[in-house]
Symmetry: C2
Subunit: 303 residues, 2 copies
DNA sequence: CCCACTCAATACCTCCAGGGTATGATCTGG
DNA sequence: CCAGATCATACCCTGGAGGTATTGAGTGGG
């Protein structure tokens, strides 16, 4: 049996006349007759009563008509759904993120993606940079988000945003009175650094900035993410250098100040990573959305 | 697309290897490769990732695999169900019956049919002899049950049972003291006759018997069916001649007595009727059951 | 009562597509 | 670097789907 048989059968059942059904199917009458006979023979069941006025369904034929319609509808639906899946409009995308990156860009990006592809289920997994790469290689995620990603053989990188640097400082600190702080002025303040974990990381960037400014920083504490860092600032552990987006974290007793003299072209990047060999249309659609997002976002701020 | 494509696709998806799948399908490898390519082209979707180790499904392929399995299962089920319907093992059989025929044979017969064909829904419609024939012609029923059916051009008849004749009489009637009553002894008793409606009927048979016995009966009342007739006997309206099976009707104050001298070969028949041109396997199966039933039943009693 | 009409069925032909064999291209593991 | 595995390509062949012409059967109107 063949889907063609079902199509023909339904046509004949609906027209109750082989000639008209053949016309509807854009074939001639004799092949249609044969196909129907073939179908009946294969099933071993008489589906139609031949009357001088045409064909009428038997009880078994009535039943088979229902089934045939179901099957055809299911086939239609299957192709439609599969095509949507093939275009990255249907399916599931596993995304690795790290704690404090959820602050600004990622939610907006994911929202944009959801709007474009409402039937894609996006599943977020919080994991560190190293875990993300491992998970990519094991195909447990398709995309990861992180900062300071070194290029790798099998992993592609796509920069999502660049941000400038701010300093989070206690509101009652004398320096907080200045609208802009010079880097060297931080020398006497103990630094809270993040994230712990795989190096190189944001930590190294901050330490590098200090040496450029001519001093060795006093490290007060290393913490996992920006949120914890700013919380420690509120508690008086010191100051903390954070990306622009951290300003969405409003802590009582903490203010953010611009740094006057970060080097030109300095920025904190947020990138997403993916398998270079991943041809999945879902990944393609996602990276497309990332590109759109970069275009729509304001140009990277320069310190 | 074709059911063949689905079968091939499922095999490849399960084997994850075109060569093995081809072996399983009893075809050679190249045609299978082509069929898969064709399927992908038609859908416009990459279903498999070609790796040096074989084929693995893409996300869209995974989805299509599910759908393909569903479709194939549905096709299987459809053919199976249709075949059962074609063998008269599945479907619906509308049966016309008349009130008091439900007494003995019909329930047993329907029970036997239900046991043989548990998935056939038997729908009973109470209707008179004339209505049954009309309903057969309009295909509203497929089988009718009645007595004294004259053969017709388009309607086939099949005798189900033959029964002897009894007389229902008040228990305190003097005649009731005899175990056997001769027909002529009924001469003084008013008769309750049934059924009203289309002639010839059981009524004519009873009147004929009376004339044979040499008297003109006094007609007390004509009623619709045996149940009502026996009820009137209980109320003292007279006596009522009924088929054997009426003894299942136990009314207080009514007894049944054998008639000593009904003519040889006399019987009350119960037959079923059907369209001669009805080729439905359901009808065939039903008539088969009727034949079985007749064989299994005791030979027709002779008065 | 017969002829014209309507359908389905049959006979026969053509051609494409599905299947086969042989071979190529590519990657991997010893 | 070679042997083996795996998918892809090239090419041929045959069965079957579709086409045309015709027959067969049953119906209704004149």
């Amino acid at each position: 049996m063949d889907l063609r048989h079902l199509r023909y059968f339904v046509a004949v059942a609906e027209e109750e006349n082989i000639g008209r059904a053949a016309a509807r199917l854009h074939i001639s009458q004799p092949p249609l007759t044969r196909q129907i006979q073939q179908l009946e023979e294969e099933l071993g069941v008489t589906l139609f009563l031949r009357t001088p006025r045409g064909m009428t369904l038997t009880q078994a034929g009535e039943l088979f008509l229902e089934e045939a319609r179901n099957i055809r509808a299911l086939v239609e639906q299957a192709t439609e759904r599969t095509q949507r899946a093939g275009q990255g409009k249907l399916g599931r995308l596993d995304v690795g993120i790290f704690g404090s990156a959820i602050l600004d860009a990622i939610p907006k990006l994911l929202l944009a993606f959801r709007n474009r592809h409402p039937d894609v289920k996006v599943v977020l997994h919080t994991m560190s940079k190293g875990e993300q790469i491992e998970a990519l290689r094991q195909r447990r995620i398709s995309v990861g988000f992180n900062r300071m990603l070194a290029p790798l053989e099998d992993i592609g990188v796509c920069q999502v945003t660049t941000e400038g640097l701010l300093v989070a400082i206690q509101a009652d600190d004398p320096l907080a009175r200045q609208p802009v702080i010079r880097f060297a002025e931080l020398q006497q303040h103990p630094l809270i650094l993040f994230p712990t974990g795989a190096r190189p990381s944001f930590i190294d960037k901050v330490i590098g900035l200090c040496s450029t400014a001519g001093f060795q920083p006093t490290i007060s504490q290393e913490v996992g993410d920006a949120v914890t860092g700013v919380a420690l600032v509120a508690s008086g552990f010191g100051v903390c250098l954070v990306p622009d987006s951290a300003t969405t974290l409003q802590f009582p007793g903490v203010v953010y100040r611009t740094l006057a003299d970060t080097p030109p072209n300095f920025f904190v990047d947020l990138s997403c990573i993916y398998r270079k060999d991943d041809q999945s249309p879902l990944l393609g659609a996602f990276l497309e959305t990332v590109e759109e997002f970069k275009k729509a976002s304001p140009a990277p701020p320069r310190a």
